[in-house]
């Protein structure tokens, strides 16, 4: 039995390794793949299932052992990246739009720590926002020297879309200092805002 150790690897690596290993074994031969993240387990299982191979999964601690018999063929032309789906079952249908780099109107220093606490708490909420939008002075939260950059990068890695107003970046001459998210425009921003459920303006 051929064993593929994809521990510590994130998609698309486990898919690439699986496709390669299958091409190297004979028909009906067994292949065991070791994966330690649930997203990849789901993606590899779906990949094999759609090519006629049933996967048997045993979980040992955090490692899933996928055993499959080569009963199908993966055409060389198959793009494994098509099977990379990051599950975002806990992004909700709401958007947070930051219109300034503080929270509330009143004392500036209070507003500063409130917005920091707000953003630092977002990665831990049960239902995460679908997107974060930064407008006017809100853009400062997404720049190189922002004190909430780590939290924003973490949210982006979780699959939360971060849009930063291009006009605002340009006005403040900060386009070169954007460290997280993508430069967006009024069209895209309004598309997002008008098609979502709730919008939170901190």
């Amino acid at each position: 039995m051929k064993i593929v150790d994809a521990k510590g690897k994130l998609c698309p690596m486990p898919l690439i390794m699986t496709k390669k290993a299958l091409s190297e074994i004979k028909e009906n031969e067994l292949l065991k793949i070791l994966i330690d993240n649930d997203t990849s387990v789901k993606n590899v299982t779906r990949f094999l299932d759609e090519h006629g191979m049933k996967v048997h999964i045993v979980k040992v601690g955090i490692v899933s052992e996928l055993t499959v018999s080569k009963t199908g063929i993966i055409p060389e032309s198959v793009q494994v990246e098509d099977y990379c789906k990051i599950e975002n079952s806990n992004t909700s249908n709401y958007i947070v739009a930051f219109q300034k780099n503080r929270l509330g109107d009143g004392a500036e220093d209070l507003g500063n720590i409130l917005i920091k606490a707000f953003i630092n708490t977002l990665p831990e909420t049960t239902l995460k926002p679908k997107s974060l939008i930064f407008l006017n002075s809100g853009i400062f939260l997404a720049l190189k020297d922002s004190l909430v950059l780590d939290a924003l990068k973490k949210l982006e890695q979780m699959g939360i879309e971060i849009l930063v107003c291009g006009t605002c970046l340009d006005y403040y001459h900060k386009k070169q200092e954007l460290e997280v998210g993508i430069i967006s425009n009024m069209y895209d921003i309004i598309e997002r805002l008008s098609q979502t459920g709730n919008i939170i303006y901190p």
């Binding site: 500063n112 720590i113 920091k116």
Partner: protein, 76 residues
């Protein structure tokens, strides 16, 4: 991961400490006071002891007469 949470009596002490740590270029995060820690103040400061010098922080707070409680917290 192990963090140290700094708990203060008033928001003003949090604000003072926020300013102090920024001035001294010490890495920290403002967070809401964790629910399992009782505090008079809703904001707290989270320190990653592998990224910030706790000893330096303690002495800075002492020099500036800011009282604070230190609580160890395991956060995944």
């Amino acid at each position: 991961m192990k963090y140290i949470i700094l708990i203060f009596e008033t928001t003003h002490k949090v604000l003072k400490t926020d300013k102090l740590l920024i001035e001294n270029k010490i890495k920290f995060d403002i967070i809401p006071t964790p629910k399992d820690i009782s505090s008079d103040c809703g904001m707290a400061i989270r320190i990653d002891p592998t990224l910030a010098d706790l000893f330096l922080i303690k002495s800075l707070l002492k020099t500036n007469n800011i009282e604070c409680n230190y609580i160890e917290k395991q956060i995944k």
